[in-house]
């Protein structure tokens, strides 16, 4: 417990906003109108009188609104990006007003498949509409409007959070000054869709899944845990797994010659899978991973550079050398499109062995880049 830490935002609380009340529902990309929608969100720091210091943090697949600080004095670990958010950190709460919300479709306070459908009084389950990255961003826009912010100083996120950053600057070019998409892509590769599909199949083949109608019954633990195990493999690199586990055995000196855990890497994955099940909803996993698959920023425009034609934001794009899930060439394609339309963009590939997970781990390099980018980028007229 480190809430006494000078670099921590301390005790925080999750707030929520409900909007799109019928009949004023939000039109989703799939064509359905949907409402009411609740977004869970947290804020850290103070909004300036000119409302020009707001930074929107966008989370990845399994993230939530709790990006920094602690919910109470007993919470063991802080928010998911605490190392980057707080007094004196990259997203310095003495200077900036930080907002992070849970995506629509999620299971951490925002409306998702596990939420109660007010019309039936039961969880939506698979009657929840298919949501997309665009829908997530449109919902966040309602939150930003509610907070009275015309223009975000910055939108930032890694992985699926980076997809939302890209969608923000394309959909609302007047409303974002600085964009920091990290370890992300304008569209998933076939390989990444393939891994997502195996994860979904794992959930759907669990007998407890029951076409998503498992609320109030035993949940599809095995299916979701295996989906998470597969995910974890894709977040690491061959080298980082080798360094972390090698062929070391777990609590034994010799092979067991059975199917219990022998290797440390098996034990690690099982632990990661099992602990994920306690904090995440299987249907949310299906919906959100599908939203990532559908994301293709260029598709409505024909070419990626046309998507960026009206973009006003300055970009800081970052990829990691060992990330094979969102490889550097995908970030370079975005830089390329920026160059072609004359948008200002910094691109750097950080040398790292951590794979895709590097966006949560290479904090020293990220802190230096982001601190300078925000300092210079927040100067001058918006």
């Amino acid at each position: 417990m480190t809430t006494e830490d000078k670099c921590s935002v301390g005790i925080v609380e999750t707030k929520s906003l409900t909007f799109a009340q019928p009949p004023n529902e939000m039109l989703l990309e799939c064509g359905r109108s949907f409402g009411p929608i609740t977004l869970a969100y947290e804020t850290y720091g103070e909004l300036s009188p000119a409302k020009d210091n707001a930074i929107l943090i966008l989370h990845a697949l399994s993230g939530d609104a709790h990006a920094a600080g602690f919910h109470n004095a007993h919470e063991r670990s802080p928010g998911w990006w605490d190392i980057m958010i707080g007094p004196g950190k990259a997203f310095d709460t003495r200077k900036y007003f930080i907002i992070c919300s849970n995506v629509i479709g999620g299971c951490k306070g925002s409306t998702g498949p596990s939420s109660i459908d007010p019309q039936t009084g039961k969880p939506y389950a698979l009657s929840f509409p298919m949501v997309t990255i665009q829908d997530m961003v449109n919902a966040q826009r309602a939150l930003i409007d509610h907070l009275g912010i015309d223009q975000l100083l910055c939108a930032v996120g890694g992985s699926m959070g980076g997809m939302q950053v890209l969608q923000w600057v394309v959909s609302y070019p007047e409303r974002v000054r600085l964009a920091i998409p990290i370890a992300t892509t304008s569209k998933l590769s076939a390989q990444s869709i393939a891994f997502n599909e195996v994860g979904r199949q794992s959930i759907e083949s669990d007998p407890h899944w029951k076409e998503g109608e498992y609320y109030g019954h035993p949940i599809p633990r095995r299916g979701l845990a295996i989906a998470r195990m597969i995910g974890h493999i894709t977040y690491l690199s061959e080298k980082s797994m080798h360094q972390k586990f090698g062929r070391k055995l777990q609590d034994k000196a010799k092979y067991g010659y059975d199917f219990r855990t022998d290797f440390q890497v098996e034990s690690y994955l099982r632990y990661k899978g099992d602990s994920f099940v306690d904090r995440f909803d299987a249907n949310s996993y299906l919906y959100i991973s599908k939203a990532m698959d559908y994301f293709d920023l260029a598709q409505p425009f024909g070419k990626l550079e046309q998507a960026f034609a009206s973009v006003k934001a300055k970009f800081l794009l970052i990829s990691f050398s060992s990330d094979w899930l969102f490889p550097s060439y995908q970030s370079k394609e975005i830089v390329s499109a920026c160059r072609r339309v004359g948008a200002e963009a910094i691109y750097t590939e950080i040398q790292s062995d951590y794979g895709h997970d590097a966006f949560l781990l290479e904090t020293e390099q990220l802190t230096s880049l982001i601190t300078n980018f925000l300092t210079h980028g927040s100067k001058g007229a918006s």
């Binding site: 072609r340 200002e344 910094i346 750097t348 040398q351 230096s368 210079h376």
Partner: protein, 228 residues
């Protein structure tokens, strides 16, 4: 290097940079408000000086992650981590006013490929390189039979990254071969600490480096279109 002059004060807020003498010559070649791409921009000193003094749209490509960090710290917003040997595919034809390549062509694997890329993308190209026909270089090889080491070429032969060294005369032939037209040659020699002056007489012998201002020749664009 060891060749940096006094810090140059760029504005009232005290921003200063230290520029190589050849960078100071290049500064004078750049038009106010133009779009400039510096290949191998290092820590971004030239780009920052051009941005503040000449109000250019300053863009850079750099191989070193640490240098990109330094550029971001200087407030440059268009620097990109990349390998020049991969070319300039991001840039449409004639999208840049001046493409700059200082003291770098000799480390590239494919100089001919890059110079053609520069001439495709840039309305003008500005290239500087150390002159391997400078008399102290010749002398070391001639009199001592040793691989030359000079201020411009400081490394041992087994450690140098210079794999494509050239001379002023060879560079002219190279431009001809590439279908590139030479607009201006500026041979330089040291004339005091951090200073360079223009060599008028016997440049290939007396200049330790040279700056060439280039543009695509009449035949080049159709040539490169055929090979792309």
């Amino acid at each position: 290097m060891g060749d940096l002059g006094e810090p140059i004060r760029l504005n009232d807020t005290g921003t200063t940079v230290r520029l190589l003498p050849e960078h100071r010559v290049i500064m004078d070649l750049i038009a106010e408000g133009s779009r400039v791409l510096d290949l191998g921009c290092g820590e971004g000193d030239l780009l920052l000086a051009l941005k503040i003094k000449k109000n250019v749209r300053a863009e850079g490509i750099e191989l070193s992650e640490a240098c990109i960090q330094a550029c971001v710290a200087k407030g440059l917003f268009s620097v990109q981590h990349g390998d020049l040997d991969e070319g300039l595919a991001n840039y449409p034809d004639k999208s840049i006013d001046d493409v700059i390549l200082t003291n770098t062509i000799q480390v590239l694997h494919r100089p001919l490929f890059l110079i053609r890329e520069m001439a495709r993308v840039g309305k003008r190209c500005i290239v500087s390189f150390p002159n391997f026909a400078h008399w102290p270089v010749r002398w070391q090889l001639f009199a001592h039979g040793r691989m030359p080491k000079t201020g411009k070429l400081p490394s041992e032969w087994y450690e140098t990254s210079n794999i494509h060294l050239t001379t002023i005369i060879d560079f002219r032939h190279f431009c001809q071969k590439a279908g590139i037209h030479i607009l201006q040659e500026i041979p330089l020699r040291p004339s005091g600490p951090g200073q360079r002056s223009i060599v008028r007489f016997a440049p290939n012998l007396r200049a330790d480096s040279a700056i060439f201002v280039l543009e695509a020749g009449p035949g080049m664009m159709s040539d490169s279109a055929a090979t792309h």
